[in-house]
Symmetry: C2
Subunit: 129 residues, 2 copies
DNA sequence: TTAAAAATACGAAATGTTTCGTAGACCACT
DNA sequence: AGTGGTCTACGAAACATTTCGTATTTTTAA
C-alpha cells in the first residue's frame, strides 16, 4: 500500500478530514482557526498541493470543492509509525512501546486492554518467536 | 528539560554519537558512507549547524574537533515521542502503543518484558486512574 | 442584470534544510 | 622551505514547505 508521507501541516488537515468526513476548504480553515490564526488562502494552497501530491482527492462539482482523504487513517498512521520507529528507535517497535508506556500514566482499563492484546498475540503464536 | 528537536538528518548523526561516544566529523562521515554516499563537507556543515543550534557541543582543542551530544538519548527520544504522539495520535500514547504492538511480531520474551512493565505500573498505582 | 460575496488559481516571498564547491589554515614530511 | 594531506570556515545553490497577496471566476441575491 502506497501512502505518501504527509508533513505535519498536511497531517493536521488529514486528521480533520478523517474526523469530519469530506470537507470544504472553508470548513477546514474554520477548524484550524479555532486553534491558531491561518489565512484562508494558506489553507487552500496547502490543500491544492495535497491534491497534486495525491494525498487528497476533490470533488469539483459544486461551487466549493470537497476534499476527501485518499488513504485510510489507520494505514497512514501505520506508515508514519513505521517510519518513526525506524528513524528514532532504530527499527525496534518494542523499545518504542516500552518508552511510551513507561512515560505515560495509563489507566487500569487501558492496561487491561493492553493485556488482552498481549494474550491475543500470545495465542496467535503460542510457542514464541 | 529543553531538548531542541532534531531533524531526521540530525537525529541520524546523534544516534551515531550516542552509540560510539564523542566523535570527529571524519568518523561520523565514514559511518554515514557505509549507508549512502555523503560528501565530507556536507556532514561537516550539518554538524556545525547542529553546534550552532546547541544540539551538540564540540571540543576544538585538537586539530579535528570532537563533537558530543548535548542531550541524553532517552530525553531526546522522549521529546520526539511526545511530539509524535501529539501530531499523529492526537495525544493518545495508548493508541500508539496498541497500534505499534498490533503491527509487529513481538517475541515471547519481549512480551514477557512488557507484561513485567505493566504489572510494575499496576503496582505503582494499584487503584486505577 | 448588476454588485457584493465567496471561491479558486497563480505566483512569489520567506523560511528552513540539505548539499557541496572553494578557500584558507595547519601539519607532517622530505 | 615546499608539497600534499586533512581539517575547518564560508557561501551559495537546490530543494521543499509555509504563507499570503492579487487576480479571476462563480454564485447569490437584491
Amino acid at each position: 500500500m502506497i501512502t505518501y508521507k504527509p508533513t505535519d501541516s498536511e497531517l493536521e488537515i488529514l486528521q480533520i478530514i478523517w474526523q469530519d468526513g469530506p470537507s470544504s476548504v472553508r470548513a477546514i480553515n474554520d477548524i484550524l482557526n479555532q486553534r491558531r490564526e491561518v489565512g484562508y488562502t494558506t489553507t487552500l494552497k496547502l490543500m491544492q498541493i495535497m491534491n497534486e501530491k495525491g494525498i487528497v482527492e476533490r470533488d469539483t462539482a459544486a461551487k466549493s470543492h470537497i476534499y476527501r482523504a485518499n488513504a485510510r487513517e489507520y494505514d497512514t498512521k501505520n506508515s508514519l509509525l513505521t517510519d518513526f520507529v525506524n528513524t528514532t528507535f532504530q527499527g525496534s517497535a518494542m523499545s518504542l512501546v516500552m518508552q511510551a508506556l513507561g512515560n505515560n500514566q495509563a489507566s487500569q482499563s487501558e492496561l487491561n486492554e493492553l493485556k488482552d492484546l498481549i494474550s491475543q498475540i500470545e495465542n496467535q503464536q503460542p510457542n514464541g518467536k
